[in-house]
C-alpha cells in the first residue's frame, strides 16, 4: 500500500518537476516518473488482484475530515491497473504529440503538471475510503482534467466547451455532495463502511441516496441523459488528453457506481432494472449519434458513451443476478462489464491515439476531408483497423470477449417465469445486437472514409508516418487487444477476486465452468485464425505465377476517377440516418444561390444531440429566463433601493403583528 502511495506521489512529482523544465525538453521527466511509478504501483495491484487481499493505511486529518482510510481491495486494484498503465502510455504519447505545440503560445509545463495531477487524483479516487477526502480528490480530478481540456485556451469554442465540462462536473459533484452529506448525517461517520448501513436501511431514503450516487457518478461516466459534456469536451481537448479522459477518467464514474453497489448492495430490486434500462438506452443512443457525426473525435466521444452503455448493461445484469440470487448470471454480467472496462480502455485509447496521429499530420478532424491515408500512414492505419475491429466486437479481438460474456449472461438469465425479467433480457439481447451492428456500420464508415479510397484533399498522399513515440503506445495497445482476443484467460483470472467481492457465493465450480467456456472459446478463436491463415496461404499459392495486373478501379463506364465522386461519410451513413431521423435532430444552414450569376452558395448540416436539444438547452434557458426576471432591481435610483428596505420592513412588522404570539 505504501508502495502504491509512493507511485502516486511519483506521478505528481513528475508533474511538479515539469514546471521547472525548459520548453524544449518538456515531457521527458513526467514520462520517466510515470515509468518509474509502474514499478511501485503494479506489484501491490497484482498482489491484490491475485490473492484478493486488502491492504489499507490510515491518514489522520483534523476534523471535519478526521481519520481517512486508504484501502486497496481488488476492485480498487483493477482500476488502479488501468489508470497506471494509461498514465504511462499517455505520458509517452504526449512526448510525441505535444511537439506540434512547441512553437505555439501554450504552456507545456502546466500541461504536464495537470496531467500528473490528474493521474494522481484518479489513483487516489480509487483507494480513498473517506467521504470528504473522496470528494476532495474527486473534485481535484475534475479540475485537473478541466485545465487539460482548455489547453488551447485561445479558442473561444474550446473555452466554452471547457466551462460546459466543468459545470457538468460541478453538477455531478453536487449530487455526490448531497448524497454524502445525507449519509454522513444519518450515520455520523465519514468512512465508506458507514455507507453500508445507510444503503441497507428500509424506507425510501436509501433508494434516493442510491439514485443520487448513480446520478453523481453517472455524470462522470456519461450515462444518458448526463452525457452531454462528453461530445463537447473530447474534441476540445488535445487528443492525448481525450484518450485519457475517455479511456481512463470516465471509468472512475463506473468505479464509483461499483463501489456503492459493493458497499451497500442494492436497496431495491427495481434499481437493477433502472440501471439496466438506462445503460441500454445509453449504448443505443451513443452509437446512433456516433454514426451521424463528421468530427472524428466527436464520433469517438459518442462511442465512449456507447461503450459506457455496454459496461452498464454488464453491471445492470450483474445487479439483476445479485437481486435474483443467480450467481452465474451475476458472474457473467460483472465479468463482462469489468472486462469491457479494460477493453474499452485499450481500444478507445488506441483509436484516439490513431486519431491524434491523423490530426497531427493533416490538421483536420473532419472525416470528409480525409481519405486514402492508409498509403501514407500504413502503421497507424493498421492499428486503427485493429481498434475498429475490437470496438465493433469482432471475434479475434478483445472487444468480442467481453461482449460475449455479457451475451452469455443475458442468455443464461432467460428462464421460464419472471416475465418482466425475460422481457428486460430480450430487450437486452436485441439492444446489444443492435449496438454491435451499428458499431460495425460506424467503424466501417470511419475506417474506410479516413484511411481507404482516394485522398479527398490534395497532398495527403505524401505524409510521413508518425514518430516512434506516437506509435509505441499504439503498438503496445494493439498487441494487448489481439492477445486478449485470442487468449482471454490471460486477463480473466485477474478479475476473479474482483467479482468475488460482489458475489461471495460464487462457488469454485461456477468460476471453473466459466473458465472452461472461455477455454473453448479461445480454441474456437485458434481455429478461426488457422482458417484465415490457411486461406491466405492458399490464395498466395494460387496466385503464384499468375498475372496480377494493377489497373484503375472499375468506374462503371465513367473514365474520370476523382475523389469528388467517391462516397463520403455522410452519404455512407445517409440510408441509416434516414431510418433514425426522429432521434437525431438536424440543424441546417442554407445559403441558396442568388441572382442571375450566383457568386456562392452554401449548404451546411450538422446533427444535434437529442438530449441536449430537447432537454438540457430548454431547461437551462428556462432557468436563465427565470433569473432574468430579477435583473430589473439594480436601477441605480437610491430611492428605489430604500423602497426595497421599507417594503421588507413593513412586511416583517405586519407579519410579526399578525403572528400568534
Amino acid at each position: 500500500m505504501k508502495l502504491l502511495l509512493i507511485g502516486t506521489v511519483l506521478f505528481f512529482s513528475g508533474g511538479i518537476l515539469e514546471l521547472f523544465i525548459p520548453r524544449k525538453q518538456s515531457g521527458f521527466v513526467s514520462a520517466a516518473a510515470a515509468a518509474l511509478a509502474q514499478f511501485f504501483i503494479l506489484p501491490p495491484v497484482f498482489q491484490a488482484l491475485t490473492d484478493g487481499s486488502t491492504m489499507s493505511v490510515s491518514l489522520d486529518f483534523s476534523l471535519p475530515i478526521g481519520t481517512a482510510f486508504l484501502r486497496l481491495d481488488p476492485l480498487a486494484a483493477f482500476f488502479c491497473l488501468i489508470i497506471s498503465i494509461g498514465g504511462l502510455l499517455a505520458s509517452i504519447y504526449s512526448l510525441g504529440y505535444m511537439k506540434m505545440y512547441r512553437d505555439r503560445p501554450y504552456s507545456l509545463s502546466s500541461y504536464y503538471f495537470f496531467l500528473g495531477l490528474l493521474f494522481t487524483a484518479m489513483l487516489l479516487v480509487t483507494v480513498v475510503q473517506n467521504l470528504l477526502l473522496f470528494m476532495i480528490v474527486w473534485e481535484i480530478m475534475s479540475l485537473a482534467s478541466y485545465f487539460l481540456v482548455i489547453f488551447e485556451h485561445d479558442k473561444e469554442e474550446v473555452r466554452r466547451a471547457g466551462l460546459y465540462y466543468l459545470i457538468a462536473m460541478q453538477i455531478g459533484a453536487a449530487f455526490l455532495l448531497t448524497a454524502f452529506a445525507w449519509a454522513a448525517t444519518l450515520t455520523g461517520s465519514l468512512d465508506f463502511t458507514a455507507l453500508a448501513g445507510v444503503l441497507s436501511m428500509p424506507g425510501s431514503a436509501s433508494t434516493i441516496i442510491f439514485l443520487l450516487f448513480f446520478a453523481g457518478f453517472g455524470f462522470k461516466a456519461g450515462f444518458l441523459p448526463l452525457h452531454t459534456w462528453l461530445p463537447l469536451a473530447h474534441p476540445a481537448a488535445p487528443t492525448s488528453v481525450s484518450a485519457v479522459m475517455s479511456g481512463v477518467m470516465i471509468k472512475t464514474g463506473i468505479y464509483g457506481i461499483l463501489r456503492i453497489i459493493l458497499l451497500g448492495g442494492i436497496p431495491h430490486a427495481s434499481l437493477a432494472y433502472v440501471i439496466f434500462g438506462i445503460a441500454l438506452l445509453t449504448g443505443i443512443f451513443g452509437v446512433m449519434n456516433a454514426i451521424v457525426q463528421h468530427d472524428l473525435k466527436k464520433l469517438l466521444a459518442y462511442h465512449s458513451i456507447e461503450n459506457i452503455g455496454i459496461i452498464g448493461i454488464g453491471i445492470g445484469l450483474g445487479m439483476l443476478g445479485m437481486v435474483y440470487r443467480q450467481e452465474g448470471v451475476a458472474l457473467c454480467g460483472l465479468l463482462g462489464g469489468l472486462l469491457h472496462v479494460f477493453n474499452h480502455f485499450s481500444f478507445k485509447s488506441l483509436l484516439f491515439y490513431g486519431a491524434g496521429v491523423v490530426y497531427a499530420k493533416t490538421h483536420t478532424r473532419e472525416i470528409d476531408k480525409l481519405g486514402g491515408l492508409i498509403h501514407s500512414l500504413p502503421i497507424t492505419a493498421t492499428l486503427f483497423l485493429v481498434g475498429s475491429l475490437a470496438i465493433s466486437g469482432m471475434p479475434l479481438f478483445s472487444g468480442f470477449i467481453s461482449e460475449f460474456a455479457i451475451y452469455t449472461g443475458l442468455v443464461r438469465s432467460l428462464a421460464p417465469g419472471g416475465a418482466i425479467l425475460n422481457i428486460a433480457v430480450g430487450c437486452g439481447l436485441a439492444g446489444l445486437a443492435f449496438i454491435g451492428v451499428m458499431a460495425v456500420l460506424c467503424f466501417t464508415k470511419v475506417f474506410s472514409i479516413c484511411f481507404l479510397g482516394l485522398p479527398r484533399v490534395p497532398h495527403q498522399e505524401k505524409l510521413s508516418e508518425g514518430s516512434a513515440l506516437l506509435l509505441a503506445p499504439m503498438v503496445a495497445l494493439g498487441i494487448l487487444i489481439v492477445c486478449i482476443g485470442l487468449v482471454p484467460l490471460l486477463v480473466l483470472p485477474l478479475l476473479k477476486n474482483v467479482v468475488a467481492q460482489f458475489v461471495p457465493g460464487i462457488v469454485a465450480t461456477e468460476w471453473e465452468q466459466m473458465m472452461s467456456l472461455f477455454r473453448r472459446l479461445s480454441l474456437a478463436m485458434a481455429v478461426l485464425a488457422g482458417l484465415i491463415i490457411f486461406f491466405l496461404v492458399l490464395r498466395r499459392l494460387l496466385l503464384t505465377g499468375k498475372p496480377v495486373r494493377i489497373f484503375k478501379t472499375w468506374g462503371c463506364g465513367y473514365q474520370v476517377e476523382s475523389s469528388r465522386m467517391s462516397y463520403t461519410a455522410s452519404s455512407f451513413a445517409a440510408p441509416f440516418v434516414h431510418l433514425v431521423a426522429p432521434f437525431v435532430p438536424r440543424e441546417r444552414e442554407v445559403m441558396p444561390p442568388q441572382g442571375l450569376f450566383p457568386q456562392e452558395a452554401r449548404y451546411k448540416r450538422h446533427y444535434a444531440d437529442f438530449i441536449a436539444y430537447y432537454m438540457i438547452d430548454p431547461l437551462s434557458s428556462l432557468l436563465s429566463r427565470f433569473l432574468g426576471l430579477f435583473t430589473w432591481m439594480q436601477t441605480g435610483r437610491t430611492q428605489q433601493y430604500i423602497l426595497y428596505g421599507l417594503v421588507f420592513l413593513v412586511m416583517l412588522l405586519v407579519w410579526i403583528m399578525l403572528m400568534p404570539s
Binding site: T635, G636, T638, Q639, L646
Partner: protein
Amino acid sequence: MSGILIVLFGTTILYICAASRIEAFVKTLALQGLLLFLLIMIDVHELNWLNIAFLSLETLLMKAIVIPYFLLRVIRRNEIGREVAPDVSQLYPLQIASIIFIAGFLMAYWAAGTGMVVQPLYFGMSISVMMVSLLLIVRRKRIITHILCYMTLENGIFLLSLSVANEMPLLINLGVLLDLFVAIYLLVIFFNMIQEMYDGNNIDVLTELKD
C-alpha cells in the same frame, strides 16, 4: 398634555408631506425640535439635571435653532427654492401618510392591549413618523430634501426613545448625538461635494451606477 404635543408632532409631518417649499420644511423641523424639547420637559422626571440639560441642549439648541438657521442660510445662498417635482402631485403622499397615521394609532392601541410598558402613543406615533419620512424619501427627488427627511426620521426615533429616556438616558444621548453628527456629515458632503461636482442637485444625477 404630552398626548397633545405628540399629536401636534404628528401633524407637523403631515404638513411636511403637503409642503413643497424647502424653507417651510426646515421651519417645520425647527418646530419639531421645539416640541420634542417640551415633551422632555413634561415627561422626563427621574433624571439627574445633567441628563436633562444635555437632552434639552440637543433638542432646543441643535434641533430647533442651530441646524435650521444654518440650513436656511445655505438654502438662501444656493437658491434652492422648491422641491422639483411639479409633475408629482402632493396629494398621494398626504393620503398615504394619513393612512399610515391611522395604522400607527391602531398599532399603538392594539399594542397597548398586549400589556406593554410604554405609553402607546409614543410608540404608534413615532413608528408612523418614521414610515412617513421614509416614504417621503422615496417620493421626493431633491437630495437636500432627502437629508431633511432623514432628520425627521431621527426626530421620530427620538420621540420613541423618550419613552425609555427615564431608564437609560445614556443610550438616548448617544443615539441622538450620533444621529445629529450623521445629519451634519450628510449635509457637509452634500454642500461641499455634490453641489460642486454636479450642477443640478436632483437625485436623478446619481443614477450612473447600475447593472
